[in-house]
């Protein structure tokens, strides 16, 4: 295989994210699951918040899709992105199915109305969603580096740990069955960075965007963990940042 321009950068971003993947706030939830301290209400909180985040990916990817121009990337890159959109939609369906199957809610409409599944602008979840949506104005290679070689790797790590810890076959299956798709998103991110990030300025943007995405995803995971375990700890104050677009 010819030497690809972004190979070292992709390796750097993957290694850094993998090193952080088993030290996220979700480890507290995994420990609680192992101790048998996660009852139906806590499981509903977990699935409800993750479902809410997955729903918001329609909004994030909608913005990103608008920023894909004709001929700026080969069709294969756009095909992979469309596959990622479908996968994210599948995961949203899995979380909704789980809420219905476990009897947490009676109908889809109930799931939308329930506080555990509602979207609030004043939340770590919203902060992360708007942070990702903000990347719509950056080249596709940079935002894919940010998400697929950042939060996606953290997610792969904690989700594997959570799937191993959960005994309930329905909930275990929800997390376990996502692994193939999540791993393919990481591989897609690696491929895009390796092939399309060649200039030093773009490499720096990838490092910056990846760090921002992971920081904001970490804020969401902190909020999620506190919410699931009933600690209700407020998220740390948001850092001041300039709006550039």
């Amino acid at each position: 295989m010819p030497d690809l321009p972004g190979r070292d950068l992709a390796r750097e971003l993957i290694d850094k994210s993998e090193a952080e993947s088993r030290s996220t706030p979700v480890e507290a939830v995994i420990a609680a699951v192992r101790e048998g301290a996660v009852d139906d209400d806590k499981a509903h909180r977990l699935i409800g918040r993750l479902w809410t985040l997955e729903r918001m990916f329609y909004y994030i990817y909608g913005g990103w899709g608008q920023g894909l121009e004709m001929n700026d990337f080969p069709p294969s890159v756009k095909y992979l992105f469309s596959k990622q959109i479908v996968d994210e939609s599948t995961h949203e369906m899995l979380y909704l199915d789980a809420q219905l199957k476990k009897g947490f809610v009676a109908t889809q409409k109930d799931a939308f109305r329930h506080p555990y599944g509602s979207f609030s602008v004043d939340s770590g979840l919203a902060y992360y969603v708007f942070s990702l949506r903000n990347l719509a104005t950056y080249p596709h290679s940079i935002r894919i580096a940010a998400l697929n070689l950042g939060p996606k790797i953290l997610e792969l790590g904690w989700m594997k740990g959570l799937a191993e810890a959960i005994a309930d076959p329905d909930l275990k299956g929800v997390f376990e069955s996502q692994a193939v798709e999540n791993r393919s998103h990481v591989n897609m991110g690696r491929r895009i960075v390796e092939e399309f990030v060649a200039k030093p300025v773009d490499a720096e943007l990838c490092r910056w965007a990846c760090a921002v995405a992971k920081r904001d995803y970490g804020r969401f995971l902190g909020e999620l963990s506190a919410f699931v375990l009933g600690h209700e700890a407020p998220a740390p104050p948001a850092p001041r940042r300039q709006v550039t677009d």
Binding site: T90, M93, Q108, G173, S177, A179, E181
Partner: protein, 84 residues
């Protein structure tokens, strides 16, 4: 009772059946918990022939079949348009 199942040789996984089944709160169509995440029909929840909504929305000929007879119900046969 007659029942429906997905014919994965023909199904395009477009998810129209899932969407309509959720929308009318029957919730019989679900995503299987396996890596392929194929669409399936829960026979315990499906109310066919009382409800035939998924048959009306499915765009892929032959992708929903009657379990007992094995016959395709997409496009829906004339009796599917009548009240059960």
């Amino acid at each position: 009772m007659p029942a429906l199942k997905i014919n994965h040789e023909r199904c395009t996984e477009c998810r129209m059946c899932y969407i309509v089944c959720r929308e009318i709160d029957i919730n019989a169509v679900y995503v299987a918990l396996e890596p392929l995440h194929r669409i399936e029909i829960d026979m315990e929840k499906c109310t066919y022939p009382g409800c035939t909504a998924c048959l009306m929305y499915c765009p892929a000929e032959g992708s929903i079949i009657e379990v007992e007879s094995g016959r395709s119900l997409v496009p829906p046969p004339p009796e599917a348009w009548q009240e059960a």
